[in-house]
């Protein structure tokens, strides 16, 4: 029996993993070799997808990127024993990109069968929950507080403090809400967990439920993730049938295409079946959240890290990282980068190291020009700021944000005025409509940047953009309006040459493909 592992992760499927899995099964059958094909999550080395692994007595051996047409040759090369082939990578754990990581939240992703509870248990699954049951609510919260774990959804609020607030809040019923709305462009870590290690999220939610006294959890995912939603629902069904969670119940809900529903109060409105409009705070969701009850709202990664913390202790997690950013961050490398994928490492790398050493520079081979960190509301960093340390405070000090951990690389064909205009376009498109600066100001922003691009009253219009950004920053209820100034102003500040009258704009002397990078 030959055991093969092919990712069922949607990014791997997007580049042919299903076809490869079918080809492997077909070829094995043709050769009369009994074969089992396990559909794992992704290891996160996206440029090597589809990555095929085979179980050998010496451990797994990886090959990639495998196309269906390579399969016969792989069998000829004695794939079953990990034989030599041009696509052979060797033991995946020994691949430098993986070996240099500190996999905590993603320890099992790409390794285990996400549709097998026994595989999950064999890899330490539910140990954290068992530990939490032994410790009781107060000590469980203490462990999370001691870990220094901060919310991975963007705002970086200490998870332990949030849990304690909900635990202390009076209420006949309480809720755990997992924010799986992952709308930030350039991010996919939540999706990878939903598809590759869904039980760890379920376990994390059960731990949170135990800690604060909640019996019901909701996972709010997005309709753009059909694959992940199927994978997660399958995992939920398995857990519910298994009975591991006892009285704690989890339900998957899927949004309907609204970026703003990632904002926690908008998400709660949406869960209640309403328009996803942002609520004014206070009251905090921790006091009055879903259906007016005390509610923990945490990102997928925050909750999925809790089991490790309970198993290994808060101190072990806190021992990693830098400054007030403790533990690891699953960094998501994307855009025009040679080695895109998921890289989990303790906080403290420099941005330059992430983009150049880990990411390998651009995929196009052209020079890196800009890096957008933290999703569509995050700042564009120029190469000159590559010494910025990857931690919440260091990024904030440079008018940027880590957000959910997205790092999107652009080469020198990017037109930063087009990117700034897109930031306003996105804000206009996704505004919940509650605040005038966000709803109207964003549309003005698009028009005004367009004037700059057209070379109309450039200086005056740039001043107008700055005023608009100021109004947005201080006149918005949430970060959709409030942070749109980050991408806009960082583009203007760090790439002023793209905001000049047309005849002096760098964009016009660059090769013709330059103008096609952004949106019209």
């Amino acid at each position: 029996m030959i055991r093969l592992f092919v990712p069922g992760d949607s990014a791997a499927v997007a580049v042919g993993a299903d076809k490869v899995a079918r080809a492997l099964a077909g070829e094995a059958a043709r050769r009369g070799l009994p074969a089992e094909i396990v559909r794992t999550g992704s290891r996160g080395l996206a440029w090597l997808e589809p990555l095929v692994e085979v179980e050998t007595p010496g451990g797994r051996i990886a090959y990639g990127p495998v196309a269906p047409g390579d399969v016969a040759a792989l069998f000829d090369a004695d794939l079953a024993r990990g034989g030599a082939h041009a696509l052979r990578i060797g033991p995946p754990e020994a691949h430098p990109w993986l070996a240099a990581q500190t996999r905590i939240t993603f320890a099992r992703c790409g390794v285990v069968d996400p549709a097998s509870l026994s595989d999950y248990r064999a890899h330490g699954g539910f140990e954290g929950l068992a530990r939490a049951r032994g410790l009781g609510p107060a000590k469980t919260i203490e462990a999370v507080t001691a870990s220094g774990l901060r919310g991975r959804g963007g705002a970086g609020f200490p998870a332990g403090v949030k849990w304690k607030t909900v635990a202390d809040a009076p209420g006949d019923s309480k809720y755990i809400v997992c924010n799986a709305d992952e709308g930030d462009s350039g991010t996919f870590a939540d999706r990878m967990i939903l598809e590759g290690d869904p039980f760890v999220l379920i376990e994390g939610m059960a731990i949170a439920g135990l800690a604060v006294g909640a019996r019901k959890g909701f996972v709010y995912s997005r309709s753009e993730y059909p694959h992940a939603n199927r994978a997660f629902q399958r995992a939920l069904d398995l857990v519910h049938a298994d009975g591991e969670l006892g009285a704690f119940d989890i339900e998957l809900r899927v949004g309907a295409g609204a970026y703003v529903c990632g904002e926690e109060t908008s998400l709660l409105e949406s869960l209640e079946g309403k328009r996803g409009q942002v609520r004014a705070k206070p009251p905090l969701p921790a006091h009055r959240g879903l259906f007016g009850r005390p509610t923990v709202v945490n990102n997928v990664l925050t909750l999925a890290t809790a089991p490790w913390i309970l198993t290994h202790g808060g101190e072990a997690y806190a021992a990693l990282g830098t400054g007030r950013s403790r533990g690891t961050q699953p960094i998501q490398l994307a855009g025009n980068v040679k080695h895109p994928g998921l890289y989990e490492a303790p906080f403290g790398l420099t941005l330059g190291r992430i983009v150049m050493a880990i990411g390998g520079g651009t995929a196009s081979g052209r020079p890196v020009r800009a890096v957008q960190c933290g999703g569509p509301l995050g700042a564009y960093f120029p190469v000159a700021l590559f010494d910025t340390v990857y931690d919440y405070e260091a990024f904030a000090a440079r008018d940027g944000l880590i957000g959910h951990g997205g790092v999107v690389v652009f080469d020198d064909t990017v037109d930063m005025a087009v990117q700034a205009r897109f930031a306003f376009e996105f804000c206009a498109l996704e505004s919940c409509g509650k605040c005038t600066p966000c709803r109207i100001g964003s549309v003005r922003g698009v028009e005004t940047i367009q004037k700059v691009i057209d070379g109309v009253d450039v200086t005056a219009n740039l001043e107008l953009v700055e005023d608009l950004c100021h109004t947005l920053k201080f006149g918005s209820l949430c970060a959709l309006g409030g942070f749109t100034p980050y991408p806009v102003m960082s583009a203007i500040t760090h790439f002023p040459e793209d905001f000049r009258a047309p005849d002096t704009r760098l964009g016009d002397i660059r090769p013709p493909q330059g103008g096609e990078q952004g949106l019209e």
Binding site: A11, A14, F188, A334, G335, P376, V408, L519
Partner: protein, 158 residues
């Protein structure tokens, strides 16, 4: 390729019923209706409002708030093409223009749409979580990555 049932109030009632006991049932109901009928037709609004004992205005407000809900079904094939930053950085816009031109759909606002023969709908989406294999799209719900214009056109037979 998805096929949808023609609108039927009786069928709609059937779809709505099992959700009525759920907390915050409106969104799951609307999604389920759209899954069956390919859209949330105007007639459905009154039906849902009645079933949940809320006003029609409230249901209408929810339907219009979310980008997903549509009043008429989309084409027989649906391309949800990512236009967000990671895909921009990898040439998504060039790929999109190629596809739209091949289908004879507008490349300026309003971007995309459905071909007159109802064969293909092209919609903009903002991130599919497939950024590590940008540019990316969902074609009839199936993820596709490392796309260019040719691959996209091929995927929908344009």
């Amino acid at each position: 390729m998805e096929t949808f049932e023609p609108w039927s109030p009786a069928r709609a009632e059937q779809i709505i019923a099992p959700h009525l006991s759920r907390e915050g049932a409106l969104l799951p109901i609307l999604s389920a209706l759209q899954e069956t009928f390919g859209c949330v037709p105007r007639e459905a609004v009154a039906l849902v409002a009645h079933a949940l004992n809320v006003s029609r205005a409230e249901v209408h407000g929810v339907v219009t708030f979310y980008h997903d809900f549509r009043e008429a079904p989309h084409g027989r094939r649906v391309v949800k093409l990512c236009r967000a930053e990671s895909c921009q950085a990898m040439g998504a816009e060039t790929a999109a223009r190629f596809l739209l031109a091949a289908l004879g759909l507008p490349t300026d606002a309003p971007w995309g749409g459905t071909t007159p023969d109802g064969a293909v709908t092209v919609e903009a989406v903002y991130c599919l979580g497939l950024c590590a294999v940008s540019p990316a799209a969902l074609v009839d719900g199936e993820p596709l990555g490392r796309l260019d214009g040719m691959a996209l056109a091929e995927a929908v037979g344009a």
